[in-house]
Amino acid sequence: MASDILHVTLLSIFVSVSATFLASLMAVPLGTIMGLRKFRGKEVIRTVTYTLYGFPPVVAGLIIYLMLSRQGPLGSLNLLFTPTAMILAQMVLVFPIVTGLTMSSISEVAKDAKETAITLGADRWQTAKTVLNEARVGVISAIMVGFGRAIAEVGAVIIVGGNIKWHTRVLTTAIVLETRRGNFEYALILGTILLAVALLVFFVLKWYQDKGVRT
């Protein structure tokens, strides 16, 4: 049972950290650009992004399921019921959150930080880096919220992962299963581990938030 728990826990961390990391890799630059620039349709994109915060995980799971199933456009990749499929589904949920929250925190400091950087001799790249660093508390909070959504989510991973033992079973799907079986004690232990994992990741991110990066 101990090796069971360990596997489930490690897979949970792997899937949600990967999903958050990969989604943030695209979402943070996109949110930064959207926060720094003025362009037509910005308000529309902002509203759409905010709406997607509440995107139902089961719907995200369904969409990824349809895309990855045999008849779907990506069916030939044989990804359904794999951890990769679970990462993809969670990315769909994390991406709008990190993009939107990054955009708002960048907008908040953008004008002053940008002007200060340019005035002191920053080129375009250095300016973006400076603004991002000035907004780091907000940006890292955005990543935290995104990770929180990923690790706590069950609807999407159960659809595209299938809750297969030793393969795609993660903490949340295991809790669902054990609760159904009436193994409440086991389910509670898994729940406690889930909270501990979330706490651990938050502490790592918090450290970056305080320290910042050199610009």
Binding site: T116, T119, G121, A122, R124, T215
Partner: protein, 253 residues
Amino acid sequence: MVSGQRGENMSKDTAMRAESIYKSFGGDQVLKDLSISVSHSELLAIIGPSGAGKTTLLKILNGLIEPEKGEIYFMNERLEFENDSDLKARRRMALLSQKPYPLMKSVWDNVAYPLRLRDEDEVEEKVSDALEHVSLLEISDRKASTLSSGELQRMAFARATVFEPDVLLLDEFTAHLDPYNISVLENAVDWYLKEKNAAVIMVTHNLFQAERISSTTAFLFNGEIVEKDRTIKIFDEPEDERTQAFVNGEMVF
């Protein structure tokens, strides 16, 4: 020297000049046909009522805002107002604003920031020299966001001069500060001007300050330079009656 020069005399000492600048915001003509130049070792004060276009002028000179018409030359090089093409020129000038923005770092790292942008050597030495000059070395470990307004402005001065710019642009840089901080900052400007042979343009509506520290003064009114001369001349016997009125503290129409 250069054909097509309008109004402003050019000498080989000219550090920076603006030629026939036009700028408007939403139909409001802020600057019209404005030409001005500043030489090395000159402290040019630009005085004028609020809304005369003083801050806009400084931002244009610094490359932050592009004028609709007209040209800016920095050491005879024309600014393009394109992202990185002005970088070389921009890195040799500094703008000190009325409310400086403290980067989310320590005082020390704020002052080191422009040096790191330029990949300069001897960062330690230069930063500590710059902080020494504004009496902030003792609190260099503090977060910049915890400074008082006087300390913040002194830090911003160190940050703006640590990379030894040829042109220093000051935008109401002592507004709302107490006499002690004003005198520290004015002395620092004076020291910098003499030590580095720099050109300084100071925008202010504080006439006493202009009279106290500038060598030349220009009166900016309704987006135009009404008159520019030696400071003594502007304050004692100005040519234009609008200048006369302004320096006497009267309403100008």
